[in-house]
C-alpha cells in the first residue's frame, strides 16, 4: 500500500488511457508524457501499460507500508526516499515505512512514479487513468488516500540507469498542416511556423494554451460545425491564440484545427510549464 501524505498541485493515477470510446464522448486520456510513464514501468519490470502516478510540479509526500521497487521519471527535481537523496530514471528500493518526497522540479512539469506491480485501483472502462475533463477514473489524489500495489507480472527490470536527454530550453514541436489550415491567412500560417510562443498559466491536462501572436482567419465570421478532435490537434479559438490538445482533450470542438503536432513530440509538450518558450515548425506529410 502507498499512503499519500501530501500531493502538491495535482497528482493523479495514470496508465496509457482508455482508447475506443471516443464515439461515446470519452477521450483516451492516460499519461500526458507517455514515454516517461512507459520508461518508469520498464525500469521496475512492469508492462508499459501499468498504472503509476503523474505528479504535477512535485509536492508529493508518500509512505510505503510494504517493501517496494519503484522508479521516477519525467520532470527532474530533488527526490528523497527513506531520508536519503534518490535519483530519477533508475529503480529504487523502498523498505516498509519509507517516506518518498518528490520536490518541485527544476526542469519540466510532470514526474512519473511507477511501482513494481502497478497501482491497483479499480479500472473504469478498462483504464485506471483520471480524466479531469470527463470526470472518469479515480479522483485526483488527496492526503489520506491509500493506493494498493498490484502483483508483479513481468521479469524485474534489468536497467540501472536509463539515459534521458534534458528538456531543451526552447521546445520545438513539428506540426502537420490541416485539416483546417485553409481557414487561416497565408501570413498567419507563416507566423505560426516561425514565431516563439510562451506556455500560458491556463494550461492543464486538457491542453496547452499559449501567449503570443494572434492567428488571423480568412473569414472572421465563418462558423465551423463541431468536429472530432485528436490529441495533438492545434485548435484556434476566435481570440486567435492556439491551444494544443493533450491527453484529456474534448472529443469534439467547434474551432478550426490549423495543424496537428507529431505524436513523437507530444511527450515533450506535456513537460512544458507556464512561461516555457515553445515554437512550431511546419513539416510535410
Amino acid at each position: 500500500m502507498i499512503e499519500i501524505l501530501e500531493t502538491g498541485p495535482l497528482t493523479t493515477v495514470q496508465d496509457l488511457g482508455r482508447p475506443g470510446f471516443a464515439a461515446l464522448g470519452v477521450s483516451p486520456s492516460g499519461a500526458a508524457d507517455r514515454a516517461a510513464l512507459r520508461l518508469a514501468n520498464r525500469l521496475v519490470g512492469n508492462p508499459e501499460s501499468a498504472a503509476g502516478l503523474e505528479i504535477t510540479l512535485g509536492g508529493l509526500v508518500a509512505r510505503f507500508t510494504e517493501p517496494a521497487t519503484l522508479a521516477l521519471t519525467g520532470a527532474t527535481g530533488p527526490v528523497a526516499l527513506g531520508g536519503r537523496q534518490a535519483f530519477l530514471n533508475g529503480p529504487l528500493r523502498a523498505r516498509a515505512g519509507d517516506r518518498l518526497v518528490v520536490g518541485p522540479p527544476a526542469g519540466g512539469l510532470r514526474t512519473y512514479l511507477a511501482v513494481r506491480g502497478g497501482i491497483d485501483v479499480p479500472p473504469v472502462l478498462g483504464s485506471r487513468s483520471t480524466d479531469v475533463l470527463a470526470g472518469l477514473g479515480p479522483d485526483p489524489l488527496a492526503a489520506g488516500a491509500r493506493l494498493p500495489i498490484g502483483r508483479p507480472t513481468g521479469e524485474p527490470g534489468m536497467v540501472d540507469q536509463a539515459p534521458v536527454p534534458p528538456l531543451p530550453d526552447e521546445i520545438v514541436l513539428r506540426v502537420l498542416p490541416g485539416p483546417r489550415d485553409d481557414w487561416f491567412t497565408a501570413p498567419a500560417r507563416r507566423r505560426f511556423g516561425t514565431v516563439t510562443y510562451t506556455v500560458s498559466p491556463q494550461s492543464n491536462r486538457i491542453g496547452l494554451r499559449f501567449d503570443g501572436p494572434v492567428l488571423d482567419r480568412v473569414d472572421g465570421d465563418a462558423e465551423l460545425p463541431s468536429e472530432g478532435m485528436v490529441r495533438g490537434a492545434v485548435q484556434v479559438p476566435p481570440d486567435g491564440r492556439p491551444v494544443l490538445f493533450l491527453a484529456d482533450h474534448p472529443v469534439t470542438g467547434g474551432y478550426p484545427v490549423i495543424g496537428v503536432v507529431e505524436p513523437a513530440d507530444l511527450d515533450l509538450a506535456a513537460q512544458a510549464r507556464p512561461g516555457h518558450p515553445v515554437s512550431f515548425r511546419w513539416v510535410r506529410p
Binding site: A22, A23, V26, P179, V257, P285
Partner: protein
C-alpha cells in the same frame, strides 16, 4: 466526400450533410478497413483515427472514398424508448418561441421518431437531430451553469440528452430517469450513434 489528413494517425471525412455522416459511420463501423481505431461522427464530418503501423493515409483515404455514404434508412438500428417527464424550466419559453401551447410542444416532441447522430461534449451526451420542424429553437442567450442529470433539451434542430450535470445552453423541456450512462455496462452509453429513440411521456 472530402478526405483530409488529420495528423499522422487520423483522417477527417467531410460530407454533404448529417445523413451522409450517419450513413458512412454505420457502414464503416459495420466493416472497418484494416487499422481503424476510433470513429467520431459529428454534424458534417466523420473522424477516423488509425494505427499508422497497420495502414496509411493513402490506403485509408482510398478505402473511404470507395465507401457508399448513402443515408441510413429509417427503421434500422436498436430502438430505445425513453420515459420522459416534460417538466423543464424552458417549456413555457419554447411554447412562446414556437407559437404553440406547452401541451402541443410536448405532444409534437413525443410524437416524432429520432436517431442518435453523435455523442460529444461529455461522456454519453447524445445529439438527436430532426423531430418536428416547428420545434426548431435557438440556444438560450445565457447558458445555464448547471443542467441537471437526465435533462432533455432543444437547440438548433437537435434534442440533446445529458447523462450528468453539466453547464449548457439548451432549452430544457424535461428530464428522463433512464440510466443513460453506466461505466459497468457495455457500451456505457444507453444512446449510441445510430440508436433509434422515442420519448414516452411519463
Amino acid at each position: 466526400m472530402r478526405v483530409m489528413r488529420y495528423g499522422r494517425e487520423a483522417v477527417l471525412v467531410e460530407l454533404a450533410d448529417l445523413g451522409e455522416v450517419m450513413g458512412l459511420h454505420r457502414t464503416v463501423s459495420d466493416a472497418p478497413p484494416p487499422g481503424v481505431r476510433e470513429l467520431v461522427p459529428a454534424a458534417r464530418t466523420l473522424l477516423v483515427s488509425y494505427d499508422p503501423g497497420r495502414t496509411s493515409f493513402d490506403a485509408l483515404a482510398g478505402a473511404l472514398a470507395g465507401t457508399d455514404a448513402g443515408a441510413v434508412a429509417p427503421g434500422e438500428g436498436r430502438l430505445v424508448e425513453l420515459p420522459a417527464v416534460y417538466d423543464g424550466p424552458d417549456l413555457a419559453e419554447v411554447a412562446e418561441l414556437t407559437g404553440l401551447s406547452a401541451e402541443e410542444v410536448v405532444r409534437r416532441h413525443a410524437a416524432a421518431g429520432y436517431v442518435v447522430a453523435f455523442c460529444g461534449f461529455a461522456p454519453g451526451v447524445a445529439y438527436l437531430p430532426g423531430g418536428d420542424p416547428a420545434l426548431r429553437v435557438p440556444r438560450r442567450s445565457t447558458p445555464r451553469t448547471a443542467v441537471p442529470a437526465g435533462a432533455l433539451g432543444l437547440a438548433d434542430g437537435y434534442t440533446g440528452v445529458y447523462p450528468r450535470p453539466s453547464p449548457g445552453g439548451w432549452q430544457l423541456l424535461g428530464h428522463t430517469d433512464a440510466p443513460l450512462w453506466d461505466v459497468d455496462r457495455d457500451p456505457p452509453a444507453l444512446l449510441t450513434p445510430g440508436t433509434r429513440v422515442r420519448f414516452v411521456p411519463a
